[in-house]
């Protein structure tokens, strides 16, 4: 047989010989300094743009946590302490004047939602001025602080199938909706919708805005309608459906009980259709941080006239017991979304820092340049640097 001498010489390929075409970036003043300036030149204006966009957003936030205790009784209005207010109306000429227009008042009412309780609830009236016309879309948010919607046991406490409308049996809910799967009483009925998230839904009712005084000071009584439609994510709406439970199988969550006769669902007061309850859907999309806003209602079509407005909020959601606050927020959006000056400021800061560093390094480089590839800097050519050699 002919000895086939297959050479074992390694293939002379760039890969095997570690000679791949390569770019060897070496950080030298020539490359680094321009980079600093370029980053600075790009970032600072970008930050400016972001900041401008953020500042073009009109936003009014009134913390009404203490409306029930500190406001005067309706129809008397008192000023809302300024620490409860944050407002950015770009057109406002006199902030002082503007702030003094923000007032609150309270009254006890029996509301539709709480009709099965004997006691009434506080209704909080907030009065504020819109200094100039606001173009749609216009949004009303509520903002909660110190509310840990991101707590692990809270976040997981829901059952997707039940929300979808399936009649999920109780034993399947026990893990996912723990500890709010079945009622505590002897009946052990399924709670619908089960879980901690659903139970703790924000249940203050924010009314439409009422124009009480035109910009010229004349009296008015126009209602600016905001709807709670289109406030949840479109994708969210597919996750909910009318339930297949019969009303006698289920009970409302404990904190919903006041809205139902004897705290139970009946044919007359059936369980809510979650597929159309966008406020519920918004609530169920949990916030990542304990200080968050949620969209309550919106108006996408009508501009909001300048003038003095009144909004009433039925005060049911308790926040003081866990040290939280709640606020009413009226906001427009810019092409970049809501108000957030941080991003713009961060960009500007980075941009400026880069330019400053670039300038310092350039100065250092011009003042005392160092030749590249200078072998005298090698430690073994350099007795000072040659400390621990052998």
């Amino acid at each position: 047989m002919a000895p086939e001498t297959k050479s074992r010489e390694p293939a002379n390929t760039a890969f095997k010989q570690q000679r791949l075409k390569a770019w060897q970036p070496i950080l030298t003043p020539k490359t680094v300094l321009p980079t600093f300036f370029i980053v600075g030149v790009i970032f600072a204006p970008l930050g400016g743009l972001l900041l401008w966009a953020s500042n073009s957003v009109t936003e009014l936030s009134i913390d009404y946590t203490y409306c029930d205790s500190r406001a005067s009784n309706f129809p008397n209005y008192t000023n809302v302490p300024s620490e409860f207010i944050s407002a950015t109306f770009p057109q406002v000429s006199s902030p002082q004047q503007y702030m003094s227009d923000i007032k609150w008042s309270r009254e006890v009412v029996a509301t539709e939602e709480f009709k099965y309780t004997n006691s009434g609830v506080w209704r909080c009236h907030l009065q504020f001025r819109v200094p100039s016309e606001l173009k749609p879309p216009l949004f009303i948010y509520y903002r909660l602080t110190n509310f840990y919607q991101n707590h692990r046991s809270y976040v997981k406490s829901f059952n997707a199938n039940q929300l979808k409308g399936l009649a999920v049996p109780a034993d399947q809910l026990k893990t996912s909706c723990n500890p709010m799967a079945v009622s505590n009483d002897n009946s052990s009925k399924i709670i619908y919708p089960c879980g901690l998230i659903a139970n703790s839904i924000f249940n203050d009712t924010i009314s439409n805005l009422t124009l009480t005084q035109n910009a010229d000071g004349s009296k008015a009584n126009d209602t600016y309608v905001l709807v709670s439609k289109g406030i949840s994510w479109p994708s969210d709406r597919q996750k909910y459906g009318p339930t297949s439970y019969t009303p006698d199988q289920i009970v409302p969550p404990p904190d919903w009980a006041n809205a139902y006769p004897n705290g139970t669902y009946t044919a007359d007061s059936p369980p809510p259709d979650l597929s159309t309850d966008e406020l519920f859907q918004v609530w169920m999309r949990t916030a990542g941080l304990p200080d968050f806003r949620k969209l309550y209602s919106r108006n996408d079509t009508t501009a909001l006239q300048a003038g003095l407005y009144d909004v009433s909020i039925d005060y049911r959601f308790p926040v003081t017991r866990y040290g939280g606050t709640k606020a009413f927020v009226l906001s427009t959006v810019s092409f970049l979304g809501g108000k957030n000056s941080f991003l713009g400021l961060a960009y500007i800061a980075v941009g400026i820092a880069c330019v400053v560093l670039g300038a310092i390094f350039t100065a250092r480089h011009l003042y005392k340049p160092r030749k590249l590839g200078d072998h005298t800097y090698l430690s073994w050519n350099n007795p000072q640097g040659h400390t621990n050699g052998n």
Binding site: P3, S7, R152, S235
Partner: protein, 984 residues
């Protein structure tokens, strides 16, 4: 001839099946005609070695993955029979064993026939004694318990698969860790993450592994075919492996695997033959009767003692069997090719034993490696009958008479003259005859047997060794062929340090030729030896010149003495217990009263670039110790010639006779060295001989010895035994924190290479044992420079970067999670979606570290080569140390904090999107994840020194991949209910 060139690095830890995935061997079709006398035969031994029938994992079945087959010349040195096993406790007798290597039991070119043999119980009617078994040839061995050749190399059967497989898999720490994690994840109130992320991944991995195992296990070797001798048909017919019976005779052709453990009966190779060589055709073979007495099955692959008894034409014949005739199942018979390959396997173990990367690299001098043979030691000088001869003699050194004593050299021309005319002509004749007869060289092979230099030397002087046959050698002396009958050969081994051949010359006289180390020959001389004094003087001179010497002696043996001795020898060679010791004893009996003919001197030419390499390595701050078996003078000379030591150094030579003297000397020396004013100025070199080293390595003194040795710039230990080499390595390893690299080329370097942190074998000169047992094998010493300075440095820096970066990227990601804990009531809620976290290390950040670990070059090879000092960066742990580690960790903390804070400020009170809706938890989490990924990949981009196309794939590629992934995943995942977090 199968080319498996892609697979020539040392193999480790393969599953023990015998399938070779690289096997593309072609069996050469040969004529099977029964009258083909050139087709030789051998015998088969079905599985009797437990190694092959059990599921041990220590044995490497890739027998056929031969790298250099030339070592396995079967009838020669038993130590090079290529049979291997794992050795842990090494005794001196077993020294040349190799570890974890993949040899081929090659019998050379052509076809071979073997006799089968297997495990058997002691039959009642058999002449067995304890510890032996009897196998009848060509007869059904019905009395035996195990007759089939079905082997279960399979690890599993249907029932054992699951438990066994799971046990094996979960013996791995990684799998255990993931199992544990997966278990914890199953507890709903403990784990914040999706319960299937870890479990799913683990199941996929295990399933894949299981599939692979089953596949490997299922493809049975039992169905392979081999040619077996059908007695009735008197022809070789094909038969499946599992049909081969004990006692069958099979024929294995080149490139085929041995279907069982076999005993070699004959081979087409002249050198592979033994006493059964006449069994050349099937009809003859089928009439062969007899039996084999064999040792019981054991797990020693290296030793085998057996006895073949045959009924031949001339009566009963007993043939001793040893490992050289044993061919283990699964090995592949193959032709050998003599092309050497240079293997660089970048595999430098760094302080942390983490990962090994390898790559084959540039070896521009590759063509040189095939011509290594030419560089083998050259027969330069010799001393015959007290006269010194050299092939080239300078005028000044010409022989002349000074004070009645002849000094200087004669040239080889004079040597030829002297054969005819000089009174010592007879001695010269015997000397040259010995050189051409007393060796184990095979003429057809171009191997690098050290003895070849001597044979070549003799042939230059017209004593040409032409043919080797089983029982004789042919030598052409001055154009006339003479046949010397070889009566017996007492082989060389490291204890004997000599070999001798008993021959019957053409004149019918029996002569013992013996060559070996000076010490062993000199103590076996007879009283009447006229040339001892001059020869010793010449030996001294040769050694000073750095030549390797051998003493040459002979004795005429009377017929009577030989007859007596040969029975003793015969008995020793057929004994089944301690055969090698018995043989040594027998040899001792005849190797006495020798007549010293002279000595040879071989110049071991240093390989190219050795001095430069040593010098460079010293510059790189590497301490170099030379451990050699050479004489002290030779060693010092070599040390000088390779610039290890120079004239400026003060040599500390330690030659002491006893424990106490050694101790005293060493202590005194240390004291005086310490007492010197400026020890920096005068570098020291320590030279110690083997005997003193023996004392110095005793527990009590070893510390002192090491202390002195570390003060010296160079250390040379001469006359060192293989065991001592290993002991020195272990001593240094035990007491110094340094990483120790051992490099050697000979079989006697194997223990040392194995003991070191990094073993480097030089393939070539003295065979492949060293190269096989090493972590890395190279073909030239000078390649060590590139291996260390370039690949070592690269590897170290790459690994450091890889490890630090891997810590960094994980700390960065998971610390954001930590900061989040402060904002979710320490509830353990995760920011990121579970699968996204799982894929962080698996998909999105897996490539940058790999690319860094494989392709990064912090300094080009050229610069590393130019500035060996750069290597000391590694020695000082510049790239990977505690400071560096914490630097990276802090950097990661910092980055994660910045990322987290920025993200929560951007998302403060929930980020209002353009349509007024708000970003939720998972929106925020995904954004933060993207930011983390961008930061971590950006960091990778910053620390990558060399951007190859793979780097582009790895760094920007990963990010693009993530963007595409999250888009698709966000769309698809909710539909399949994979991720509840991303639902919507």
């Amino acid at each position: 001839m199968s080319g498996t060139s892609g697979n020539n690095f040392p193999q480790r830890q393969y599953p023990s099946n015998l399938i070779d995935p690289f096997d593309d061997s072609e069996t050469v079709e040969t004529s099977q005609s029964t009258d083909n006398l050139s087709v030789p035969q051998a015998a088969a031994i079905p599985s009797f070695r437990p190694y092959f029938s059990s599921d041990n994992t220590s044995f490497d079945p890739y027998f056929n993955d031969s790298t250099e087959d030339d070592e396995e010349q079967v009838p020669l040195y038993s130590e090079s029979s290529g049979l291997t096993r794992q050795i842990t406790n090494m005794s001196e007798a077993n020294l040349p064993l190799t570890d974890n290597i993949s040899p081929t039991a090659s019998v050379g070119i052509g076809e071979h026939t073997f006799l089968g043999k297997t495990e058997m119980s002691s039959g009642d009617d058999n002449p067995t004694s304890g510890g032996e078994r009897i196998i009848y040839i060509n007869k059904p061995n019905t009395q035996q318990k195990f007759l089939h050749n079905r082997i279960s190399t399979t690890k599993y059967n249907f029932f054992t698969f699951l438990p066994k497989f799971l046990y094996e898999q979960f013996s791995k720490y990684a799998n255990m860790f993931f199992l544990f994690t997966a278990c914890i994840q199953q507890i709903p109130y403990v784990s914040p993450t999706n319960p299937f992320t870890t479990l799913g991944t683990l199941i996929v991995v295990l399933t894949a592994t299981a599939f692979k195992e089953i596949l490997e296990d299922y493809v049975s070797v039992n169905q392979r075919k081999c040619k077996y001798l059908d007695i009735a048909a008197e022809a070789f017919i094909l038969k499946e492996w599992n049909q081969v019976n004990v006692g069958d005779i099979v024929r294995v052709e080149s490139g085929e695997f041995f279907p069982a453990d076999l005993i070699l009966l004959s081979s087409s190779e002249p050198e592979a033959t033994n006493d059964t060589a006449y069994l050349t055709n099937p009809s003859k073979t089928s009439s062969l009767t007899g039996y084999i007495k064999s040792e019981t099955p054991n797990n020693s692959l290296y030793t085998y003692d057996g006895l073949l008894e045959m009924d031949g034409q001339d009566g009963r014949k007993r043939v001793p069997l040893d490992p050289t005739q044993l061919l283990l199942r699964g090995a592949q018979l193959r032709n050998t090719s003599w092309v050497y390959v240079v293997k660089f396997q970048q595999a430098l173990l760094i302080n942390d034993d983490l990962d090994m990367y390898y790559e084959k690299t540039d070896t521009p001098a590759l063509c040189r490696t095939s011509s290594l043979v030419e560089e083998l030691g050259q027969f330069k000088q010799c001393s015959i009958a007290g006269l010194a001869y050299a092939d080239n003699v300078e005028e000044a050194k010409r022989a002349r008479i000074v004070d009645g004593v002849e000094v200087g050299f004669h040239d080889f021309k004079q040597l030829r003259e002297n054969i005819r005319n000089h009174p010592t002509g007879n001695v010269i004749n015997e000397f040259l005859s010995l050189l051409s007869i007393c060796h184990t060289v095979i003429p057809e092979r171009k191997d690098d047997n050290p003895a070849r230099a001597l044979v070549k030397g003799a042939s230059l002087l017209d004593y040409v060794f032409t043919t080797r046959r089983p029982k004789s050698v042919n030598v052409r002396i001055n154009g006339v062929d003479y046949e010397y009958e070889i009566l017996s050969i007492c082989e060389f081994n490291s204890t004997r340090k000599r070999m001798s051949t008993v021959v019957r010359g053409p004149d019918g006289k029996i002569t013992l030729y013996c060559k070996g180390a000076d010490t062993v020959i000199l103590e076996r001389l007879s009283d009447d030896n006229p040339f001892v004094e001059q020869t010793l003087q010449h030996l001294e001179e040769y050694a000073t010149e750095g030549l390797r010497t051998l003493c040459i002696a002979m004795r005429e043996v009377s017929e009577e003495e030989y007859r007596v001795w040969s029975t003793v020898y015969e008995k020793a060679s057929t004994t089944l217990v301690n055969r090698s010791e018995e043989l040594d004893k027998a040899a001792e009996m005849i190797e006495k009263n020798l007549f010293l003919l002279g000595a040879t001197a071989i110049e071991d030419k240093l390989q190219d670039g050795v001095p430069e390499t040593i010098h460079t390595l010293q510059q790189a701050g590497i301490k170099i110790w030379v451990l050699t078996g050479d004489r002290q003078e030779t060693a010092i000379n070599i040390g000088l010639s390779c610039k290890l030591i120079n004239e400026e150094m003060s040599l500390i030579t330690v030659n002491e006779e006893s424990h106490w003297e050694t101790k005293e000397f060493l202590e005194k020396r240390i004291h005086s060295v310490k007492g010197r004013v400026n020890p920096e100025t005068e570098p020291l070199a320590l030279v110690i001989d083997g005997r003193t080293l023996g004392f110095a390595l005793e527990k009590e003194i070893e510390g002192t010895f090491l202390e002195l040795a570390t003060m010296c710039k160079a250390v040379i230990c001469c006359r060192v035994s293989p065991l001592q080499k290993a002991l020195v390595v272990k001593l240094v390893k035990r007491h110094l924190k340094a990483i120790l690299l051992a490099i050697g080329d000979g079989a006697n370097d194997v223990p040392m290479i194995q003991a070191a942190h990094v073993g480097v074998g030089i393939s070539g000169l003295e065979g492949m044992q060293a190269a096989r047992s090493a972590d890395v094998s190279i073909s030239q010493f000078r390649y060590l420079k590139k291996l260390l300075l370039v690949h070592g440095a690269w590897s170290y820096q790459r690994l450091s970067k890889l490890i630090l970066y891997s810590f960094y990227k994980n700390i960065t990601l998971y610390m954001t999670q930590f900061w989040y804990a402060f904002q979710n009531g320490f509830s353990g809620q995760v920011i990121y979606e579970s699968w996204t976290i799982t894929y962080y290390n698996v998909l999105f950040t897996v490539l940058p570290p790999i690319v860094m670990g494989v392709f990064d070059q912090y300094v080009s090879a050229r610069m590393l080569d130019r500035y060996p000092q750069l290597y000391s960066l590694g020695q000082k742990s510049e790239f990977f140390n505690v400071k560096n580690f914490w630097g990276w960790a802090l950097n990661a903390f910092f980055h994660s904090l910045i990322l987290y804070l920025l993200s929560i400020y951007v998302f403060q009170y929930g980020l209002v999107l353009t349509d007024g809706q708000l970003a939720d938890h998972w929106f925020w989490g995904t954004a933060l994840y993207t930011a983390v990924l961008a930061t971590v990949l950006g960091k990778a981009a910053l620390i990558t020194d060399l951007w190859t196309k793979y780097t582009y794939i790895a760094i920007p590629g990963s990010f693009i991949f993530w963007m595409v992934f999250i888009f698709v995943y966000g769309m698809v995942a909710p539909r399949f209910k994979v991720s509840e977090e991303y639902d919507g």
